[in-house]
């Protein structure tokens, strides 16, 4: 398959790895002043190479063209130094998509930036993606994301342990009823700044959320010494849990040192709470960041009907849907559900339905 441009770089490589179709991406920033792939993309390819066996990668001199022939997903113990241009979340999102289909259970140690403003942070994925994965039958103690060290944006120095068991088949899901939010949890963290920052964040966030629900608990997490990475910073991750086990999250991180205006912890707390409200407004059974993960697992399920209710599709998800069609020839039935007149449950929802591709993990060994 041939693509142009570096947009949706991860999607293409991940789907290619899963479907076994080779991919050629051309004109990667060819018109740019600084043409070719960026370091973080190269780093991502290296990570893919580490978790697979027999992958063939060809990149031309200028880095504007990439040929990727996927190998088999191998898994096992992997240690990877993620480039600090993007946070670990960038790599982790893709890794989570691949993790259940490995030959041996994955145990990856990713080093780099744990939190930055562009990508979903490790905490965020830990709070939202993991419970989502559990719904597809990937469970057990070994499904875990653990923040060993925290590293903020420019410097990095964080460390994350990701473990995931191996599955042969994905269960179909019927997530049509998000349920009502029963509690809100969160983590406010601060590294290399005063531990008081975290408390200030918590207070401001609570001030907004308390209007809705009393059951709010925000942990403060202050890492010190060797665990605190190389740059200062603080941030807040909030997650709302519903009765039916849906997790909707939001997060805000302080602006990296030396980039833009610094953010007051109070503002940050409020922004984050508002973001959470926005996320709740969008609603659905899967939060906006993990839409693509859920859709991928639905696609890779058995040949049964899977349904999920989502909030408005993010542009990333739309691209992802297109790519799923290209790689797996699966189209989703998209139905809109407009909320009723008197219902006050946020915006329009979208019901996505598909028949799984009948995918099975071909890497797993049977004895």
């Amino acid at each position: 398959m041939e693509f142009e441009g570096c947009n949706c770089f991860r999607q293409r490589l991940v789907l290619s790895t899963l479907s076994g179709k080779r991919v050629k991406i051309r004109n990667i920033r060819s018109k740019d002043d600084n043409p070719g792939m960026r370091d973080f993309e190269a780093c991502f390819i290296r990570l893919l190479d580490k978790v697979t066996n027999g992958t063939r990668i060809e990149i031309n001199q200028t880095g504007t063209m990439l040929f990727y022939q996927p190998g088999l997903l191998y898994g096992g113990s992997v240690e990877h130094e993620c480039h600090v241009q993007r946070s670990i979340g960038y790599y982790l999102e893709a890794l989570l998509m691949l993790a259940p289909f490995m030959k041996t259970p994955l145990r990856a140690v990713l080093k780099g930036v744990t939190n930055d403003p562009t990508d979903p942070s490790v905490d965020y994925l830990k709070l939202t993606a993991i419970p989502l994965m559990k719904k597809f039958g990937i469970d057990g103690n070994s499904l875990e994301i653990k923040v060993l060290k925290r590293g903020m944006a420019p410097g990095g120095g964080g460390e994350v342990l990701v473990t995931c068991p191996v599955r042969r088949l994905m269960n179909p899901i019927q997530l049509t009823e998000p349920g009502k939010i029963k509690r809100i949890r969160g983590t406010a963290f601060s590294v290399r700044v005063s531990p008081q920052m975290a408390n200030r964040i918590v207070d401001s966030a609570r001030s907004i959320l308390n209007k809705f629900i009393p059951d709010i608990y925000i942990y403060t997490d202050h890492m010190k010494g060797a665990n605190s990475g190389k740059s200062p910073g603080f941030g807040l991750t909030l997650v709302a849990e519903t009765l039916n086990g849906t997790f909707l999250g939001a997060e805000v991180v302080s602006t990296p040192q030396g980039q833009g205006n610094p953010l007051l912890p109070e503002d940050l707390g409020k922004n984050c709470a508002k973001l959470l409200l926005e996320e709740i407004y969008r609603g659905g059974c899967v939060d906006s960041t993990n839409q693509s993960l859920a859709l991928l697992y639905m696609t890779l399920g058995q040949q049964d009907v899977s349904k999920t209710l989502l909030g408005p599709l993010s542009p990333y998800t739309i691209e992802f849907l297109r790519h799923i069609r290209d790689f797996f020839q699966i189209m989703f039935k998209i139905e809109q559900q407009t909320p009723g007149e008197d219902e006050q449950k946020g915006g329009e929802k979208i019901l996505l339905t598909c028949v799984g591709a009948g995918y099975s993990n071909i890497s797993k060994t049977i004895k």
């Binding site: 066996n53 979903p120 990333y316 297109r322 039935k333 028949v355 009948g358």
Partner: protein
Amino acid sequence: MEKKEQKRHHPKHSGPKAEKKNRKKEQGTEQEQDARKRNPKAFSVHSAVRMAKTFHRTQDIKMKKHHIPLVDRTPLEPPPVVVVVMGPPKVGKSTLIRCLIKNYTQQKLSDICGPVTIVSGKKRRLTLIECNNDINSMIDLAKIADLVLMLIDASFGFEMETFEFLNICQVHGFPRVMGVLTHLDSLKNNKKLKKTKKRLKHRFWTEVYQGAKLFYLSGMVYGEYQKQEVKNLGRFISVMKFRPLVWRTSHPYVVADRMEDLTDPETIRLDPKCDRTVSLYGYLRGMFLKNKCQVHIPGVGDFSVGDVSFLPDPCPLPEVIKKRALNVKERLLYAPMAGVGGLVYDKDAVYIDMPSEYVKQQQEEVRPTAELVQSLIGTQATLDEKMAASKVSLFTGTAALAPEEVQENERQNPMERREWDEKAQRERRRAVFADEDDEGADDDDDEEETDEEEEEEAEDEDEEGEATLDKKAAPPVKKQKFEESVEMPGFADSDDELEKSEGEETEEDESEDDDEEEEEATVDKKAVEKAAPPVKKQKFEESVEMPAFADSDDELEKSEGEETEEDEDDDDDDEEEESDEENEEMEEGEPAKRNSGPDSGLCSENDNDDDDEEDDSDMEEDGDRILKSKMSSKHPEEEKIGTEDGEMGFETAGALRWKEDLAQKASEAYLRQQLATPNLRKLVYGIVAEEAEEDSNDEEELGGLFKVSRPEKSKKLHADALDCSRFQPDSSHDWDQEEMLASIRDCFVTGKWEEDKDAATLLKEDDELYGDFEDLETGEVHKAKTGNKDHAEENNDEINGGDDDDDEEEEEAPEVKFDDDEVKKNKRLEKKKRLKERFDAQYDDGEATYFDELKEEMQKQAELNRQEFEDMDDEARVQYEGFRPGMYIRVEIPALPCEFVTNFDPHYPIILGGLGPSEGNVGYLQMRLKKHRWHNRILKTRDPLIMSLGWRRFQTIPLYYIEDHNGRHRLLKYTPEHMHCGATIWGPITPQGTGFLAVQTIGGIKANFRIAATGVVLDLDKSVTIVKKLKLIGYPHKIFKNTCFVQGMFNTVLEVAKFEGASIRTVSGIKGQIKKALNNPPGAFRATFEDKLLMSDIVFLRSWYPVSVPRLYNPVTSLLKPVGQKDTWSGMRTLGQLKHDLGIRNKPKQDSLYKPIERQVRHFNKIQISKELQKALPFKSKPKQMQAKGKTPRDLWRPAVIREPHEKKVAELLNALSSVYTYKTKKAKAEQHAKHKEFLKQKEKQDAERQKRLKEQKKKTYRAMGQKEKKKLKSSLKGASKDN
């Protein structure tokens, strides 16, 4: 014989039995207890161990019955059951098929080639396929068969093919197998017949399973099996149930029953060996088939599907299930390869096979006009298409040909020859290619189109063989196209609304079936206008019905037109009309849109990369949608209005008709739109067909040299955008405002709940259930409903600012009385349901096991799968699901090798096996393999082997290995004889757990059992880990104490460096270690050992050397072989075969040769023992100095004694005296013995008596003692009581 009077039964009148009976009579049924109560002793626990055992056993039995529950994915209308009739040649396969067909359809099929599909019952269709005696076909058919009818010649017994086929079946998932014994009439002896039957049956059972069905076809009557027996067999087939097989339920597959070559005849003319585009037809089975997926055609190779479309079922089941049996019309038969099934549908055409007389009659009048008109229509297309069209006319022989071309044609094109087929009673055309000379066909002078030939070949191939033998050329009659589209333009131009509406009215009158037809027909028409592919044999379009719907211009097509706007390019009148209507719709839609305001931002694409065109269409869509949503909101009213309109229309005739139409049209459009293309879908997936067009537009060229460079800024930006999954929040939402906050209030548990889940309503319901009660303490009487409800409402009001649905409902009640009743009824039903649920939950709680739950879950899923897309139309459904099993589909495959078409033989099955994701790739496969125990040779590593794995048959080179205790994979030279071993091959990626079988050759029968090995795939990888033992040998070069310099093992210092620290050993068993390399000689090293070495010792290093698996993956292309030689495919030969063929004999090493062993006798010297030692030794160990005595020499013998007569007498007397004495003593002894015996007897008697006495005495004393004791006890007790 006289019957003996039997004793009558006398009921008891007294005794326990009689009493029991009486009691029973008196108490009536009360006495009827269960056995457990009546006889509790029998059910009491005697032994806990035994109880546990029985419990375990019952549980075991219970558990054994369980299968892993699977989601039931069988489609509602399943594809025909594939019945493969298999057996060695001349066993009566074709006869059986013929009989079965006759049994089911009352039709006779003379020549059976290719699959034959018949309707066998109200719910079942069968596809009968005959399996010829080629292992390729056997393997392929075993993979697709649902039921195997295994024919066995009873007069001969089992043949190897039967067993081979059974083994093939076993590997690829065991389908149902039913044995059929034939030729039973050749066994005249009744007893022998019985015995044979029994023997065969039991052997069959051991192969299949105990109790497998074996059918007996006793004999032939007029060349057919007996009617009743065939009928019985048919019944068995019709009621047979099948279980799902893993491979088949996870892969789509099609058994092609029809093949058409779609290649442009021009390209074939230019290059007869060019790759062909072929369309294959058949029922889809197994799983959903996606468009553009990869398929494997066994015997040909891997291909990606060009296009898939579904066609109306050529052999449908009866539509409504009636109680009665099927009538003749419903008993359909479809076998295009055998030339049956007169009407054949294609995507864009309908073919009719017509008897030749009819063709002759029609030929002259119809053909020219139709052709002319068609070519006229065709010329409206582009130049390319015109060219194509002109070719068409060229081939059908209407237009003038250039003389050179004609000459060329004579040389290149196939000739037609007509032959009368006696059996089918129809005329057939035979293609005779000029270059087919070598194949044995002789060419005639007639000229005919290649394309037609290709098409026909599917049917004609079978005749070809016969024809070449017969060489009877029948009078040539031409087939041609019937194109009744002549009249069509006339209708098509008329964009008169009135006329159209009339058309639509008529359309609406027609049933759904007609709709289908219409659609097809219109599609037909389009295709024709586009100068349809010239490769049609007899194209016929229903001229009668055509006008009725030619202009009726159904909405369906229009919506398609909207979607696929490329169609508008070939502008014709119809399309104009459509676009007009579209405009109308636009006009309607747009104002509505303006009203609706900005879109809700449901899908926020960050930049509008879509083209203007698409935008337009989007707008249009939008408009449509909103219009429709409007309509939907007032749906019930609208219906009323609609009916009123209808009445009005009656009165005012034509004036208001168009309005009425409008409403209907709109509602129709709405429904269709709802089903087919929601707006969002368009946004996400775009317009499927348009993409290609856009791409081509991008590369617009100016003057052929320069490209137009457009500022595609947005697109480029898009292409290199930031890759981030975060969804930036909508800036329009301000979360400081109260309204925004209020808008998500209900998302929290603190918000308002849905009516059915609200705590208040639930409470209320509980009240309704458990209703009125009286508080005994206060004496208060609580009534259901009233108080509580109010209370609940108040609560609600407090929380939500009061809007209550219940109240509203009640207020509405008088207005809509009917509705209210319904509502109440529903409510009641719902309540009942809930009650039942609760009851079930409580009741079944104890018994619901994990298994039950799992089963339930699966059932739910199955239900959901069925329902989800049920009400969609097929067009839309196919896009979401893919083509579902049971559909009759047409699969277009580009770039097939030409041999597939030219060497097509319908007797060989053509299977399209769908491949899952990444199953098209090649990699290393690790498998568990076992040599088949009937194969009489073990297999050698690196000998090529033909494997059947998944859909594929391919040749590859396996390496055999065995896993050592430490997990090492050690290479084996040969497979073990009776054991599993590992094998690694380079082959197609196939899911683990898939079975495979291996054969050494497929060409001809060389081995007596062809299946060499079977096994299963364990693991897939891109690298291998097999190692081979390698011993490196060195010799001591200098020996110190325990250190030794060793040379000859390595060649360089570097090599040594790599092995530093490795353990080494000498032949004599002294262990050591490599220490360090020496400089001189190169490759020598210092090593230490546990003992001093000798110079004669040999040092060796045991190492493991990784082996690489040869990358040979050679698909077996047996279908590409010429007809009649399809079983002669031979791939790579084994080394042994090569040597045999080339006559090479290995010169063996002299060392390896076996020579007779000559052992020399060894002589040992005597042991020398010193004199002192000899003295000190014990006698036993002292060396024996004395020689054995040996024989006494003759001279030392003593002489014999000869008695004197007197001496003799004395000796005799002494002898007699001694004998008398012995006799006397003997007698005395016997007497004594008898006496003693007597005495013993006496004594015993006395003893017994004494014992008895003693016992009695003892008894007495004990008794006395006991009584005493008792007394004592009693007195003591008394004393105690007194104490108290």
